[in-house]
Symmetry: C2
Subunit: 379 residues, 2 copies
């Protein structure tokens, strides 16, 4: 099978470092073994570092990134008003999740490729009191980057107690996140994107304010598996280098996350973010020079860890994706329900960005150029 | 670290085959890649084979074994009566989970080391109509094996529509399970025990009858992440060799499960179960010859994939576990709330049982014997 493996340049899962893959193969180790306990504890601490927080509480659990949405069950009660800053597919689905737990949703939508303006947000906040505002930091369906710093500032100015919840599944590890400085309340992510670890871990970081809202809720928590009353003692125990049990942790994935976070935190996070910005900017320049347009309508709303690109006239997705695959590069099709067949997506996160020697970006650009030429497209 | 690694002889995670660990390190592969799609599809089919079913529906999702309990949210509605055949720690916690979703629980408890009798079950069934009866096939806290064949027969004779739900976290892959022949409705497991794969996958197998109960429920499903309406189309798609998306699957863990299931299904399941029986029986004989008593009160209630053993007079858990660890063997302490400090547990599942050449059982027995001697115990 390995002969046919392609360079995985989709917006997650991304390419993994060899040391991370080795850690995935860590031989059987008990979840309460003194070897594993400090590894889990350090991993929790390093997650906090990546989002630049001093005292936020990480939850690292076996599950997909989607499980992070589910954990909002801990702070949502029947009838709670939630404003969803909706930039695509993931806004819709996060809202669906929150509704399941009793939230009343108001969508603030933007057209494909853009994001709701801060003025629109101010207006929405003036019309209703919200328990929570959610934002998809990078909408993986469109490659649109939200300005979570300004959003948090605006929300907190209007209503300091409103929870600012960031879906950072496609941003943690590749975009700038200053959890404490920007006053964020929740950042949700998964292992398989900017953190550079195979899929299977849900990672949620919550502020002390969020924990207070959770502790002071009036109604019972509607979930068993996602219930922080079960997980909080486990996280606290491991961080103080003691084992605890609610459900068996995904030991090997946590070894892998530990390995990747050691690499990530070895550099200042700012440097990592800047490198992602630089590579994304260069890629957009290259695309422009090929006559291609990004789905993100301008550079300042374009993500730094992925890019969605409109297909040029005459080139179809079922031609382009296999053409690149034939050259050993996997890219992704569209995902937004209104236009999924009209654009493609490239991921540029983690080692593909940070380690120039691998030439991953060059490979995807070269494969794209020659595929387009083969399909009759002329820049 | 590897120098200090111990042979992991706890009741899960168990020791993993080298090929399974290699599969954990599969390089980045998209969850919709044509390489991965058939791997996931075949994995679903092989899970069905392991429990000897023709048409049951497996759900394989990123999460701990505990997530399988949570999935019962799909068939539980407010006020549903559930009978829990309780043999220890896991009966209590499964009941806690079901209560979260509105179930009214009746416990049928047995003293530590035994299981509720079939007569007691008959009596309970005659007193109330139950939507669901749950049983922990092997209670990992006590090593007690339940007779799920007789239980299912008894339940179905009294009430054919009552769901028979088996917590098989510590039994699938090591104990006899005839899903179709015995009329089971749900079998819940995780990856890290008898299936021989690192922790991080929840595996739930449900009968067509269960799917009907799910489809005909009156009230909305109270969970987002555990909702079968989200997962069923994904499982169906992958089994028909097409990709689908709800949440990113744990690709590497599924490669690992595929590898392990290929090994497991290469032999008739009966042969695997018999080998586990034989090794467990021999181990109990050895323990008896050392003057030790199992927590399971008799051989016919003793699990075949793990054994819980009372500490002999004068030997304490904080002495025994480290003594074995010093000899390179990890065993587990107790877990039952009434007597956790009074017994220890040994896991004997998977390659430790099936591959004699590894001499895992010999190693744990030798380490136990010499540790006991060092601690002043005389058989």
């Amino acid at each position: 099978m390995s002969a046919a493996r392609k360079l995985c340049m989709i917006p997650g899962p991304i390419e993994f470092h060899e040391d991370v893959l080795s850690a995935m193969g860590t031989p059987a180790t008990s979840h309460v073994d003194p070897l594993f306990v400090p590894v889990f504890g350090e991993t929790i601490e390093m997650v906090r570092k990546v989002v630049l927080s001093k005292d936020a509480q990480p939850f690292i659990t076996a599950g997909s990134g989607t499980l992070g949405w589910d954990m909002m069950v801990n702070v949502i009660e029947e009838g709670d008003e939630v404003l969803v800053l909706n930039t695509g597919y993931f806004g819709d689905h996060f809202a669906d999740c929150l509704s399941t737990y009793g939230a009343k949703i108001t969508h603030l939508r933007a057209e494909v490729g853009s994001r709701p303006s801060i003025d629109a947000l101010k207006k929405a906040l003036s019309e209703k009191k919200y328990k929570m505002v959610t934002v998809t930091h990078v909408d993986t369906s469109t490659g649109v980057l939200s300005d979570i710093k300004s959003i948090a500032e605006t929300v907190k100015a209007a209503s300091p107690e409103t929870l600012v919840v960031v879906d950072g599944v496609c941003s943690v590890g590749s975009e700038e996140i200053q959890f404490d400085a920007w006053g964020l309340d929740v950042v949700i992510t998964g292992s398989q994107k900017g953190l550079g670890v195979p899929p299977g871990l849900s990672i949620v970081v919550v502020s002390q304010h969020t924990l207070n809202v959770f502790k002071n809720r009036q109604s019972p928590i509607r979930s068993y598996y996602s219930n922080w009353n079960k997980w909080l003692p486990v996280m606290t125990a491991y961080e103080s280098r003691k084992p605890a049990y609610f459900a068996t942790p995904a030991v090997q994935l946590i070894y892998a996350l530990h390995t990747s976070l050691k690499q990530i935190t070895a550099l200042p996070i700012e440097q990592r973010v800047n490198k992602h910005r630089e590579v994304a900017s260069n890629l957009r320049q290259t695309l422009k020079s090929l006559g291609l347009k990004t789905v993100a309508q301008s550079d300042d709303v374009a993500a730094n860890g992925m890019t969605a690109v409109w297909l040029p006239e005459g080139v179809e997705l079922p031609q382009l994706v296999p053409a690149l695959a034939g050259k050993g590069v996997q890219i992704a099709g569209g995902l937004h329900k209104d236009c999924a067949t009209k654009y493609f997506r490239i991921g540029h996160m983690g080692i593909s960005v940070m380690e120039d020697d691998r030439q991953h970006i060059t490979k995807v650009v070269d494969a794209l150029k020659s595929s387009l030429t083969e399909l009759g497209y002329k820049a």
